[in-house]
């Protein structure tokens, strides 16, 4: 079987091949508009995760009980009530509670103007965990005055915007950390299984089969309940990612094995083998790159899968728990009352959808672009 020669991965001179492939990848990626959009959004999300403290007006743990279930306020740029008056502001709330139905009604009070400014002072935090500051991108002029809830308030009076921004940290990183573990396991075991075949394959396949045939939910339930109780939020978070990757690596392993099996018989592998190249080198240099497209497709698909798995686990009450803030934790607040009277509590769902779509499209584009046989 003949192959195009420009980026032939079988060429021992891999340095050049990789470099030119990278350029090719970038060029191809730019053609895929959805993927570019995905790339931009994904980068933005990770930036948000890094600068969450600075971007959010409040600490995610701050509550103001008087404003439970407060709806989103509109951010005004110009005050037209009395001529043109530039300057950011929001209107204050007027609230009443029906003594019989206990329903709260919030009305924007056009007469109460809460000035808002960029780089406002607010709760103190440590940027990158190092620099102590209290400057926030946007916030009410007077940090001790009436609050500002651009995306509404939660059922206990947290600022929903700050919580979603902070949730980005955990939700976006849980996928990466989990993926790293799943990837290592999946590629090594799947590769070994597919390449060596025979006994190695049989043993690894039993292991994979075993993990796949234990349904995820009971495995989660059991493992999550068995986590040592004195673990803090960080350890719990890491443990959850491990649990998630235990479920996820098998998919990758299976994909890798299937491709290996199919590729093993290809001419270039036989050629390499006849050349006396070691097995490890054949796998690493020849087999892996030849289906990197497939790996990337499977990998990108598993980041969102982990983000989603975290929301499911938290929904079942097994994942992370408040006061830890993740999108899953925020979404576990969604109930019929939220659907009916506080739809803004669904906004973390929008964040999940955005992230999952963006990463998917990015992976999709990468996959197309990274294809070495592309003309």
């Amino acid at each position: 079987m003949s192959r195009p020669t420009d980026v032939d991965p079988a060429t021992p001179d891999a340095e050049l091949a990789v470099a030119s492939q990278r350029t090719l990848v970038w060029r191809a990626l730019r053609r895929h508009k959805l993927a570019m959009a995905g790339l931009v959004i994904t980068c933005l999300l990770y930036l948000v995760a890094v600068f969450a403290d600075f971007l959010s007006p409040y600490d995610p743990g701050d509550i103001n009980a008087d404003y439970a279930y407060a709806p989103p306020q509109q951010l005004h740029v110009v005050d037209t009530s009395d001529g043109w008056d530039w300057g950011l502001y929001v209107n204050g709330y007027e609230q009443t509670r029906d003594p019989e139905t206990l329903a709260q009604t919030f009305r924007e009070n056009p007469d109460e103007k809460i000035p808002v400014r960029l780089f406002a002072r607010g709760p103190e935090y440590k940027l990158f965990g190092l620099i102590s500051t209290d400057i926030h991108l946007l916030g009410p002029d007077d940090p001790d005055g009436p609050p500002m809830y651009l995306l509404g308030a939660s059922r206990t009076g947290h600022d929903q915007l700050s919580r979603i921004l902070h949730g980005t940290r955990i939700s976006m990183s849980i996928g990466l950390v989990g993926l790293a573990m799943a990837f290592a396991l999946g590629v090594v075991l799947g590769g070994a299984s597919g390449y060596f075949g025979g006994k190695v394959d049989a043993v690894i396949q039993r292991v994979v089969e075993f993990f796949m045939s234990v349904p995820a939910i009971p495995l989660w339930l059991g493992l999550a309940a068995a986590l040592p109780r004195d673990w803090g939020p960080l350890q719990r978070y890491l443990a959850i990612t491990v649990i998630l990757s235990i479920i996820n690596w098998t998919d990758l392993a299976r994909v890798v094995r299937g491709r290996f099996l199919a590729l093993r018989g290809e001419d270039f592998v036989t050629a390499a083998y006849l050349d006396g190249i070691s097995r490890r080198r054949i796998i690493g240099r020849h087999l892996l790159p030849s289906f990197s497209s497939h790996l990337i497709a499977a990998m990108t698909l598993s980041i969102p899968a982990m983000i989603l798995a975290e929301t499911s686990l938290s929904f079942l009450g097994l994942g992370l728990r408040p006061p830890t803030v993740s999108w899953g934790v925020l979404l576990s607040d969604v109930d019929v009352r939220a659907l009916e009277t506080a739809p803004w509590l669904l906004l973390p769902g929008l964040a999940v959808v955005t992230a999952v779509l963006a990463i998917n499209f990015l992976g999709d584009g990468l996959r197309d672009a990274a294809d070495p046989y592309q003309s």
Binding site: P215, L221, A262
Partner: protein, 331 residues
Amino acid sequence: MLTFVARRVALMIPTLVLISIVTFTIIQLPPGDFLTTYVTNLSAQGEQVDPAEVAALRARYGLDEPLPAQYLTWIWGIVSDGDFGRSFEWNRPVAEMISDRLPLTIVFMAATVVFTWIIAFPIGLYSAIRQYSITDYVATTIGFLGLAIPNFLLALALMWMGLNVFGQDSVGGLFSPEYRDAAWNLGKVLDLAGHLWVPMVVLGTAGTAGLIRILRANLLDELRKPYVTAARARGMPERRLLLRYPMRVALNPFVSTIGWVLPVLIGGEVIVSSVLSLETTGPLLLSSLQSQDMYLAGSIILLVSVMTVIGTLISDLLLAWLDPRIRHGMA
């Protein structure tokens, strides 16, 4: 081929034994046992239970025996005369409870798989052929939206909309109240169809994206192979060119999914069915896990695992049949 099948079947047995042991252990991982859970539930409702009575019950259920002994009793019952034990919580034989709910679960699963394929196949095919077109973008976006929305949220929202927007007459479940315990007839089947679409869409859309992606990726890989170019150069009609070989290779993932689609569906089914309160095994599994009703939970998990192992076997066989290279590699 026959020896291949025989060897695979023989290998299944140790896997199943291991699964049954691990299953049993997982259920025991959370602290306490069924009775602790039972007592805390009662006391949360304001009831009190005599400590002496709890000890007596524990002895009666055999919960005071060591774990290996409990496991052996359970597994021996299954092997010797198909006795899966009794559910503590429902006080009924486990086999009876599962067989009550299994048919509906299978209907639900089958409908979902078919739905997933029907949606995924055309979208995947289309977006591979018309790569980078606007329609490709729209189709994939729709395909992925189902994946991106968390299942429980979609289920809850659809249920709420069913009531408040579409004016459905009853909430939750797979049947209207008047058909719920009625005998099967055409009306009941129609009623089931009228209720089944919500869980089917929720669960199905979540799986569609994965299939679209893999189908599209594989097809693109194949379409760029030299033999396709060669065939095209010889003037083979595009449609035949597509269906002749690339399609068959691209279908591999569909086949290999048969094996793992089941546990994934069961996992998703647990959440969706619990939110929608369906009469399937999902809510049963969740509640039995939560109450540590170990024989019921263990039996459901075991059953699902057996189905998965068999599913994997079938998918391997099909794969070998579809792709001669794999078959020869194995022989």
